[in-house]
């Protein structure tokens, strides 16, 4: 029969092409029907006699391929998924374990990524945000002038010069974030205000939610401004969300303003994460732009680039005009040196498509670090899942072998495994995204301070979905690939044989498992080291003694602008007010200050002492300030009631000042001279005392040179006072009593206060969050690693049951068997912890700037973490090792 078959050396070209095109089909379909299809095609092609017929056959064939192949793929996918669902249903505990593990891992990652996206990646909700630039001084103003806010970069006179002369922007505006007083006299509340100059809403392309926006014509009028806007939140909260009426007026900063519009929900101006209540036009307090103070750096200027302009071109343009602008806006009262520095400033345009954010500056690094941590935890969890899957795959060796023996293809098997873990990953990701919605809100809530939580738009956008999808695909591959690689090694006949014996070829699996566990140990060490560093750092911060009393202090802020008091009587009035506060039961001590320590405020003066010219932090304080704040006097005397407006100018300096200006010698009796600044003429102060070094405006920053002078000699006293009050009473209780007393003794004084310690701790929320989360992830990582090690040892003991039985039969003692098992664990630990130590040292260095008084390579931390993990791992191994020692020789041999 064979002889009658025509021998065909080569197939016709058309058939070869068609065979090649069959590659678009899934492998199984091709294997099954490819040959037959090619034969049919060849038959038809041969039978065709004309070119037209052949062309038609080709068109039909190609059309058939194009329409049928995708269907076959879809059918195959559905079949794989159906099979996967069936397989997972049979093993619900396994499926649930994997899905929950993945959901937690992916959820934590997504939550942190959501925060990063909201804070740093998302564009402002305005028209064409990529066209927005901020105008700033190149390199900053280096403390020149007076600045009251993180965002304030320029003075208003500079802003008006830019507004009138620039050609780079199609529109520009200035803004400032601040507070406003809402209401009248005793009913006054403080609210967050957005101050604007120019057409902010027009430039941003933001339409008001209701009413009309504050436009160019509303701003820069002589004070007070007649019109204002409220935020969507305020409108909902305080105005019931009803339509605006012409009679809607608010008393803002003591002036009545008509509310003409409501800003849209989610609009926070240029500052991401900071909600405001009212929008108030900047007005001109002295009637004209020319009369504005020139040393107040209190606005931020934003422009929209002209069509075709780049930020570089705008910078070149601003740079060319800078010299003239700074020349024309020189503030009065500065030394020649200061003025020369001012005139040297240059402006540049910086793109701000995502707005500006103090939160971003503060937490960006921490969040990325946290994302790294959660990523590692997810990776470690994936390793455990891979082990779980491997164990399950081993249990399914027989099934795999049977399917291979029946002619099943390996790609089909691989697809099956991928379908299973794909299904698990999708379920885990969906649950994870849902979980992340709660987690990210908890994160934001844990960043809340006395001023409330940040307002961030946590919406799910494509970035978040892309991130979650990538995370789940990667984990799916990470834990799903292991069994696939394994399946490739299985021999149909070998596995059948092995499975018939109830044993499988698992040497390869054991090796993979050991490698996974070693990697896990290394990663867990990195995370535990991170946890210890951040927890330690926060503990040191929280208990750090800054040299200033932190607890039992209430900061009272009093204003009496409405009370007519002659300037020369202000000091007497202030002292009377403090005396009245002191007389309140529960008050131990009280003193005024011009600068609240440790909360970020800063007040610098240029100073000359003898031949040394430098700068120091200057504070004017009332008598008993040092006693109130627990600051230790080292030498000389403190400031007393006898230091008055009329007495000699005196000052108390700190030890750093003595070191900086007097080379460590006692500065007592010497005279320091301040450099002239607007309202602060050059003045001589005789040094009468030295106090111990304390922190100045930041717990973490080193101590600068500091000078204290009597409040009575403050050159620029106004109708307000900041009073540090020492008491054992809670701040709110104390303030109620004080307000009641002050109403009697000093009618017309408005007062409010807050707890000093709580405000300091508010500044530590970032560190607290890092410590909390790093600690949590460190603990999770250690747990995951221990579970991994336990699984490995338990499996190893199970696998070597027979060998252990033989050893026991040959006379090995129980302890020898235990030692044998633990030796293996120790080896893996050594490899894992060795690698981990190197990785941890590298990783910790990247966190160095976020740590307080803990070195990133603190040997105690590294050693402690390694010891902790090793101890936990050995403890977890003890149970299976002990079980190994109990293997009865008879029983083990009978198993075979």
């Amino acid at each position: 029969m064979m002889a009658t078959r025509p021998h065909r050396a080569a197939r016709p070209a058309a058939e070869r092409v068609f065979r090649a095109l069959l590659a678009v089909y899934p492998g199984e379909f091709r294997d099954e029907y490819g040959r037959e299809m090619a034969l049919v095609f060849a038959d038809r092609h041969r039978a065709a006699s004309t070119f037209g017929e052949r062309l038609l056959i080709w068109i039909e064939a190609l059309w058939g391929l194009a329409t049928q192949a995708p269907r076959e793929h879809a059918a195959m996918l559905m079949q794989d998924l159906r099979y996967a669902i069936r397989a997972l249903r049979k093993d619900k505990t396994f499926a649930l374990t994997v899905v929950v593990t993945l959901a937690l891992g992916i959820g934590a990652n997504t939550a942190i990524f959501q925060l990063i996206a909201a804070l740093a990646l998302r564009s402002l909700p305005v028209r064409a945000p990529h066209e927005l630039v901020e105008v700033r001084i190149v390199g900053g103003s280096h403390g020149f002038g007076i600045s009251n806010s993180f965002y304030a970069q320029l003075t208003r006179p500079l802003w008006y010069a830019i507004r009138d002369q620039q050609k780079a922007f199609s529109g520009a505006f200035a803004w400032a974030a601040g507070r406003a007083r809402i209401g009248e006299r005793s009913e006054t509340r403080s609210a967050a205000a957005l101050y604007v100059s120019g057409d902010m809403f027009g430039v941003l392309g933001v339409a008001p939610w209701r009413g009309v926006p504050i436009g160019r014509l509303d701003t820069d009028l002589p004070c007070p401004s007649p019109r204002a806007m409220v935020s969507h939140g305020y409108w909902q909260r305080e105005m019931g969300g009803r339509d605006l009426r012409p009679s809607d007026r608010l008393r803002l900063n003591n002036d009545w303003m008509q509310i003409v519009g409501v800003t849209p929900p989610g609009f926070t101006g240029m500052a991401v994460g900071e909600a405001f209540d009212v929008v108030i036009p900047l007005c001109l307090p002295h009637g004209s732009e020319a009369n504005l103070r020139r040393e107040f750096f209190d606005v931020s200027v934003v422009g929209r680039l002209q069509p075709g302009w780049t930020p570089e071109r705008a910078t070149a343009h601003l740079d060319a005009l800078s010299a003239g602008w700074f020349e024309a806006t020189v503030p009065a009262g500065y030394s020649a040196e200061g003025i020369a520095r001012y005139k040297g400033f240059r402006l540049a345009a910086y793109p701000v498509p995502s707005g500006v954010s103090v939160l971003r500056e503060r937490y960006d690094r921490a969040l990325w670090l946290l994302l790294g941590m959660t990523g590692l935890v997810l990776l470690m969890a994936s390793a455990n899942l891979a082990n779980l899957l491997l164990a399950r795959a081993a249990a399914r060796d027989a099934e795999v072998a049977i399917r291979l023996a029946l002619g099943g293809s390996r790609p089909a098997l691989a697809r099956q495994f991928l379908a299973e873990c794909g299904l698990l990953a999708i379920a885990g990701a969906l649950l994870g995204v849902a979980l992340a919605q709660g987690l990210s809100r908890i994160l934001i809530w844990s960043l809340a301070t006395q001023g409330g939580a940040p307002t961030l738009d946590l919406g799910l956008d494509w970035r978040v979905f892309a991130f979650t999808a990538a995370a789940s695909v990667l984990t799916c591959l990470a834990f799903g690939l292991a069994p696939i690689v394994r399946a490739r090694r299985i021999q149909a006949s070998g596995a059948l044989h092995a499975s018939a014996r109830g044993m499988s070829q698992d040497r390869g699996r054991a090796a993979t498992q050991r490698a996974l566990v070693a990697a896990q140990t290394a990663m867990s060490l990195v995370l535990v080291v991170g946890a210890l560093l951040f927890v330690q750092s926060f503990r040191r911060l929280a208990t750090f003694d800054p040299g200033i009393r932190r607890s039992g202090i209430t900061v009272g802020i009093f204003g009496y602008e409405e009370t007519p008091i002659a300037k020369e009587r202000l000091n007497d009035y202030q002292r009377g007010l403090v005396a009245s506060i002191r007389s309140v039961p529960g008050v131990i001590d009280a003193a005024t200050t011009t600068n609240i320590p440790l909360l970020g405020g800063s007040w610098t003066h240029g100073i000359t002492l003898g031949s040394v010219k430098n700068s120091a932090k200057f504070t004017w304080v009332g008598p008993r300030y040092f006693d109130t704040m627990g600051i230790r006097l080292v030498e000389g005397r403190g400031l007393t009631v006898d230091d008055t407006t009329a007495s000699a100018r005196v000052a108390v300096v700190n030890q750093t000042f003595a070191r900086t200006f007097a080379a460590g010698a006692s500065p007592i009796g010497r005279t320091l001279t301040t450099h002239a600044e607007p309202d602060y003429p050059a003045t001589d102060y005789q040094i009468v005392g030295v106090i111990a070094d304390t922190r100045y405006n930041d717990l973490r920053a080193p101590t600068p040179a500091m000078v204290y002078a009597p409040d009575s000699q403050f050159p620029n006293m106004g109708p307000w006072a900041t009073v540090m009050i020492r008491s054992d009473l809670p701040s709110d209780v104390l303030m109620r009593a004080i307000k009641a007393r002050v109403r009697q003794t000093h009618a017309g004084v408005l007062g409010d206060g807050f707890d000093f310690g709580a405000a300091i701790n508010d500044g530590l929320v970032g560190q607290r969050l890092m410590a909390m989360l790093a600690g949590f992830f460190g603990a999770v990582a250690a747990l995951v690693a221990v579970v991994g090690i336990y699984g490995m040892v338990a499996y190893g003991v199970e696998r070597r049951r027979r060998e252990l039985g033989v050893r026991a039969a040959l006379g090995a003692s129980r302890w020898r068997l235990i030692a044998m098992v633990l030796r293996q664990v120790a080896l893996i630990l050594a490899v894992g912890l060795g690698t981990g130590t190197v990785l941890a040292a590298v990783a910790a260095r990247s966190a160095q700037t976020m740590l307080f008084e803990v070195g990133p390579q603190d040997p105690w931390v590294l050693g402690g973490a390694a010891a902790l993990i090793a101890a936990a791992a050995l403890a977890a191994s003890w149970l299976p090792a002990h079980r190994a020692s109990m293997v009865s020789p008879l029983e083990a041999l009978r198993q075979d």
């Binding site: 078959r5 037959e36 038809r44 064939a61 058939g64």
Partner: protein
């Protein structure tokens, strides 16, 4: 390898109506076992060339019919009338035959209805 769902006690009616290609393939296998090309030629001949199956649509249908248990695969054998290359032959199963009959009857009834309402001329 793929696990194929094999309907056990399926009633022929549950398969109806059959897709056009499927019915033609079953009809073509009704008188004898055929290989793919033979099915294709037979269908083309019976429809005067108006239904041309491409290799892709033919084998997609065959795969489905095999899965549904309406046809079975026979061992490969050469086709002496053709080029003698070994080909895979297909055969109607008893279920396949019942399904094809049921579909034919369904079409017959449709035809009868069309005649009854005068849509088609009554049979002479």
């Amino acid at each position: 390898m793929s696990p194929r769902p094999v309907p056990v006690e399926d009633s022929p009616d549950s398969f109806l109506p059959l897709p056009r290609d499927t019915f033609h393939i079953l009809v073509s296998l009704a008188d004898r076992d055929r290989h793919g090309y033979s099915v294709m030629l037979d269908v083309a001949e019976r429809t005067d060339g108006s239904l041309r199956l491409s290799p892709s649509s033919l084998y997609a249908a065959i795969k489905r019919l095999l899965g549904q248990g309406l046809i079975v695969e026979l061992a490969e054998r050469p086709d002496p009338e053709h080029d003698d290359e070994r080909r895979r032959y297909y055969q109607l199963t008893p279920l396949g035959r019942r399904v094809a009959k049921a579909e034919a009857r369904r079409l017959e009834r449709l035809l009868a209805d069309a005649r009854a309402t005068g849509l088609l001329p009554k049979r002479g």
